[in-house]
Subunit: 328 residues, 2 copies
Amino acid sequence: MNDKIRIGIAGHGNLGRGVEKAITQNLDMELIGIFTRRDPAHIQPLTAGVPVHALADVEKFRDGIDVMILCGGSKSDLPEQGPALAALFNTVDSFDTHAKIPGYFEAVDAAAKAGNNTAMIAIGWDPGLFSINRLYGEAVLPVGETYSFWGAGVSQGHSDALRRVPGVKSAVQYTVPLEKAMELARSGSRPQLTTREKHRRECYVVLAEGADAEAVRRAIVTMPDYFADYDTEVDFVSEDELKTQHSAMPHGGFVIRSGVSGSEVKQTLEFRLALGSNPEFTSSVLVAYARAVMRMRRMGDIGAKTAFDVAPGLLSPKSAADLRKELL
Amino acid sequence: MNDKIRIGIAGHGNLGRGVEKAITQNLDMELIGIFTRRDPAHIQPLTAGVPVHALADVEKFRDGIDVMILCGGSKSDLPEQGPALAALFNTVDSFDTHAKIPGYFEAVDAAAKAGNNTAMIAIGWDPGLFSINRLYGEAVLPVGETYSFWGAGVSQGHSDALRRVPGVKSAVQYTVPLEKAMELARSGSRPQLTTREKHRRECYVVLAEGADAEAVRRAIVTMPDYFADYDTEVDFVSEDELKTQHSAMPHGGFVIRSGVSGSEVKQTLEFRLALGSNPEFTSSVLVAYARAVMRMRRMGDIGAKTAFDVAPGLLSPKSAADLRKELL
């Protein structure tokens, strides 16, 4: 008898491939199929023997899949696929447009309830593990300040912004947290930190032929929202150097809660991630939450959920008794 | 109408006083009474107007208290009070004898179920927040190693052991994590670290009159279980110095999960606490979990629980919608 958790993957970019790999690390899970909007014949699964299907046909597979992991992007894929697939399957996704989470939650919640499914949204590390740590910090130390720092790591949004600058052929942007600000956050002095004090931005740019380097640099460092509020460094590199030195996707960051307990004693919580690969780590988090989704669905806990709704024990393949014995 | 969470405190040592102070930081809570085995007339509440009662009379207060926070010790108080009070009230406690948690859980679970109550055990930072982070790390990165480091901070158990050495009048012991071991744990090389490699022990000792310092030092550093497996430093100090320099109760530590995701990429999670006062922080955690206990009881989720069973959102006074908007 096979009682593994049967997983489907919708979308086979970096995140989808990461989920494929993460499933091989979780022995209680089985990958049932990959669903794509592209031509399935053009998708090469990493896992031998896993079928690839057209996403348009996904409804046929309702009975064979316990949890569908949505690996599309937050900008255009998930706003459509999130609700559509939550109507058919239990789902997990990494929707990460913070400002749009409340609206997305409502849309997915309605669809999931209509389909009698459990749909976990906004999973990964931020939103996700960072959010949980912001919450633990605030709940345990109600009098205090919370600081989130990101990096050092590649920001896709900022890299995309660089690539839209005329004269830029290709580019990668690193967000770098400033050590001095982190020390202040940890110090217990509860400083108010400006955008510029918290992070700086490092840009590695390949110029298009004939482009004016100084004009490109100026266009970058004065770009509102993305760069103007930061100390931004622009380094021009060759296409070859960009490929060999800047193609990994490291990331990470820090959540620091600095507060005081009852008699004004300083207390500090800090959560830190140092990630060799941002998409692979996000995938690993998605897979752990897929386990929780299946359990919550079995308990009848349907509708849209976030990391705030998941008891930690539901993430582990171990029994509650083993967890108490081994990890408590 | 008063719809605050009505809290009782059982025991008024460091932890109970910390809970009193923490309640003042949580505006949705109200301290109803303090219960003591001592003569209530000898207890001085920090909160004006809070009544102190004999613990023997606690049953009379069943209807007026939503959650009883148990502030006794794990060695002799809680094994008896935990089950007894869980039969009467929803409870939270900080039972921290790791090896005895499974048995304690069973005893409290039976009592809580018989009384139709929810009883949260082993809350604090270790067990508690550290346990959760061990679980998150293992669930998200199933291939990896978990390291717990404690300190720098005062260990009550080790300080007590020092005080039992003949010739010792008074003493304080600090557990100090070794930076080199933490760096190795973070490095992703997943080392096996020995006890001696992870922590060292610093002892500040006041000698009894006429005691032989060298004999005391030898008795300490060779003491099995407590000191023999560590590099232990013994400093002899005056009673005055011990009181002025070593009476704070700082503590803290680190949980590090070092693992690899699917394609052998290194990924590291780290949770860190730097605590100005160990008992006050533990108290703050107990109070946040009291909020969760009341909510779980209202949902009908009775019996013994641990931090592994508590969805993070239940700890916050904010609504789920506000949490999604503000912290996710």
